[in-house]
Symmetry: D2
Subunit: 263 residues, 4 copies
Amino acid sequence: MSNEEVKVHDLGFVKLLDVMGNDEEVENAARISYGEGTRKTSATRNLIRYLMRHKHTSPFEMCEIKFHLKLPIFVMRQLVRHRTANLNEYSGRYSVMSDDFYFPKGKNLKPQSSTNKQGREEGELGNDTGELEFEIFRIFDGAKNAYHNLLDWNLSRELARIVLPVSNYTEVIWKTDLHNFFHFVKLRGDNHAQQEIQDFAHVMYHLVKPHFPLCCEAFEDYIRDAVTFSKKEMEIIKDNINTIVATDRLSKREETEFLEKLK
Amino acid sequence: MSNEEVKVHDLGFVKLLDVMGNDEEVENAARISYGEGTRKTSATRNLIRYLMRHKHTSPFEMCEIKFHLKLPIFVMRQLVRHRTANLNEYSGRYSVMSDDFYFPKGKNLKPQSSTNKQGREEGELGNDTGELEFEIFRIFDGAKNAYHNLLDWNLSRELARIVLPVSNYTEVIWKTDLHNFFHFVKLRGDNHAQQEIQDFAHVMYHLVKPHFPLCCEAFEDYIRDAVTFSKKEMEIIKDNINTIVATDRLSKREETEFLEKLK
Amino acid sequence: MSNEEVKVHDLGFVKLLDVMGNDEEVENAARISYGEGTRKTSATRNLIRYLMRHKHTSPFEMCEIKFHLKLPIFVMRQLVRHRTANLNEYSGRYSVMSDDFYFPKGKNLKPQSSTNKQGREEGELGNDTGELEFEIFRIFDGAKNAYHNLLDWNLSRELARIVLPVSNYTEVIWKTDLHNFFHFVKLRGDNHAQQEIQDFAHVMYHLVKPHFPLCCEAFEDYIRDAVTFSKKEMEIIKDNINTIVATDRLSKREETEFLEKLK
Amino acid sequence: MSNEEVKVHDLGFVKLLDVMGNDEEVENAARISYGEGTRKTSATRNLIRYLMRHKHTSPFEMCEIKFHLKLPIFVMRQLVRHRTANLNEYSGRYSVMSDDFYFPKGKNLKPQSSTNKQGREEGELGNDTGELEFEIFRIFDGAKNAYHNLLDWNLSRELARIVLPVSNYTEVIWKTDLHNFFHFVKLRGDNHAQQEIQDFAHVMYHLVKPHFPLCCEAFEDYIRDAVTFSKKEMEIIKDNINTIVATDRLSKREETEFLEKLK
């Protein structure tokens, strides 16, 4: 464990604190279900890919990943929705909150998307971003000062903090199992998630991948980059697809499964 | 279901949206475990008290309670930690946030506790609270204006909102089972919890109680108002307690259990 | 709630005990996230289909379904793996177990699949099934008698029951939210699941469907009957699909999403 | 990790496969919530005891424990009820079940308790236990033979196994966090739990304790060996307790808390 802090944005970070398990442990957990029967079957990689493809998720739950994160409160509010994780967050009741705020500037101040009600899009804001930055700075600076003034007047910490904006940074120890981590990465690394949590998800995934290279490869192929078609979409595909002759890009077993899906 | 909004603080509310089950349903669920054997046993109240006393929690999980809440973000951040609940929160990515803020005033601006690092205490702040209120108002008013300015300049909603303080109101549909609701009330209705979430917990409990009078009575007697002593504290109690003669305040069965605990 | 027992196999049953919510409640829960902004958008059906398609699962968690099931222990052992459910099972420690056993006969005694290590297949057993039935009967009858003899000799119920086979029937109250119920149906109604739990899943789904017609329709189109292709499979599909001209079988919005997936 | 198999009963075992974290990691997780403010406070032991006493459970969730267990199906059915655990069980659909059965003999064949409907008690069975053992043996031997006959006749494994009794041994990889492990030990190590799962719980706890000596000590003092009194019981205690003068058996802080509870 290198334990190095990887920066996210100007003031946030991700640190991988601890990992339990590895690719072989996933295999070992799976072998328990299969008993002696499987010994012959196949190498670790094939087994892991089979498990991922068929959503046999429990062997992946046998590994755990623990992070230390520094992130804005509004990102924390999205992270906490993943209920299978364990977490311990910095307490603004007990301690004084940091003076750091997530402050996007310049071209990072993106306009409201015209097609997606819950997102931003590329492009220019009508205004000079300087004006927006000033507006944002005014609030961050004011809130920071107000917070400290309130503390100086001995207002209880749990009340003083209510003036702090959701861009204020917090810290958390966050732990989850590998299966649920993949689920988190699928949802929050997706380009429909808010950009800021995507940035965290990508760094977290990048740190985890060397510890589980085969699991991550399988995750990418069968989950992250997989595409799902509805019943009606499948009808259209079947009506429009040519006879598939050579699918030498798939293993024999996967080819059978593939052709089955197109029948 | 009266569906009436009960006010909490100036701008928040609790509405009980739906309830599944009642005292009898808890009994019915328990009877399944016991089979024919119990029919004779006892009335609903006795059975429910037995279940609560012995932490047979699953029958209480068979009931559900659903609320609509309007609450400050900092209270929402405490509520969301109860992971067995289901929730749907207002989205600041999709919609414009409200202009309402939780704003404690006058004697509600309590000083930092001198004995409890994570709480407030009764007593006067050194300063006139008017000064504190002005400081708080300045931030709330500034943040509200900045937020709307940023929206007017077409900054994406998911970014504009980051200037809003954690006192800003959000809304949520929150649903949990009766067992986990009791756990929530035990923790968040306790006087070590932050006052603001206590206020919500008390109103929520008050609305639920008429739907489960026997379960709530048992919860109060055996959980909420129960006291736990450590191994060492028990030694001291045993050394200092008089022979207990008449405990006609307990049922025969409970008396046996009680004396057993003191042996 | 008709509360009628629907038979599964000879001796099991499913009874739908209670339902919380309906299609409109799913919509209402979703509207909370969207705030005023959506009012105009669309009818219930469109919204529900949108939520299902994009895996916005929390609104479906706002509904609950409660069953009373009588099922063999080996099926119960599969059911209990769905950890988000609440359950209360008949207790063989407290009460005397039933004399009922799941007893497949004749053509239901299917041979081991030659292609799927964990399943059966169509076809004839080498032997007359009468011989197998006799073997099975001998065990069930013997276990039943032994169990009652052990009870007659006053062996504790929790020990006497250990001679009973996993085909012995148990009963359970089982409750879950609609999202997790769909997940259960997807996994256990699938033809890779053991036939016996499929039979239960299908009856349970059949009873739930009239209570949530729009949610169930969306579940079938976007989840149950949807097909997922891996990254490599998608490459093959893209190489082999004709230009799709008329997709008047999809809504405008879905057509855009569909073509996007094939790009 | 010694990785040694510890025998439970004649044929079962517990093997501690892996541990994530230790006492110091629990402290580190807690420090995150408290920020700089606590550094001075206190040594690891005091902090851990404080956390346990006040049910601050999340730091204990930051550690994980993974076991390999061989246990009878009826014990597995109790273990699986702990829903926060992850597990991977041997599959009787995929592989041939073992020929091992849990077989209590002689004085372990205990009579039904006359006071506790769900338990056994000390004492003699009316009958010679030899007769009971023969009855049990007859079923185990018959079931084993029938199972293998059915397999020989090529009945699918998932069907053949239904003749096997719940005393048949299965295997499982079972993983949980330290907080939920303590909860498991509290419930299943308790003398109201079935003796057989108590035996497993005790061995598991014994293997875990050297990895978390301070956490385990705190668990024993404040949870395992603690006693809870209901509201009414507390009234009786308060009426019957002498003025407590010297409680030098408690720390200053705990003494204050103790006297508070008796007020």
